[in-house]
Symmetry: C2
Amino acid sequence: MVQYKATHLDATFAALSDATRRGVLEQLGRADSSITDLAEKFHMTLTGMKKHISVLEQAGLVATKKVGRVRTCKLGSRQLAEETAWIEAYRARWASRFDALDDLVEELKQKEKSDGRKSKA
Amino acid sequence: MVQYKATHLDATFAALSDATRRGVLEQLGRADSSITDLAEKFHMTLTGMKKHISVLEQAGLVATKKVGRVRTCKLGSRQLAEETAWIEAYRARWASRFDALDDLVEELKQKEKSDGRKSKA
């Protein structure tokens, strides 16, 4: 049985699976913004933007604060460290699988050469 | 207007947002597997596993091949390079935002010290 566990990863990757939400994170990386400003920038209704912000907030990627009637958004505390670690591990496994394939091809080539020599001898 | 575009990223991040699918990728990083074996390993119906494989295949993370009655799965050609780049850029922005905050706090501290000296003088 493979060891695997559900962590924050589900929520973060789901939050990142939308181009608008990634755009919002890029924007908040430049400056804090109100939801109204974000809705305008992304040509979206306030309701639509609120939903995206809610997904990002639940994933810990955005933090919001209401001052008076304005809700301001900023980057949350999640630094995507776990996500980076998972992807790095995947890439390492991917590379080693394809290295193994290269080795096998090389081995078969060598075998062919050696068989060739034997049949000539 | 913020520059952002929908790429493969939507499909990949969505594919990665499920613990079973991440587990399948980890498993396929060790060895190719049939869908039947994967369904068994993850205590899942064949239909359920087929759906997960289909999501992974559409994201280019898994490639399948049918030989006779058995469909074998292996890691696909996507190496998550774009995903890594996106996350790295996010982390860099995140760090610079919080560095800027540190600088501001440091500046305020210095100002306080300097004001303290002035009031003593």
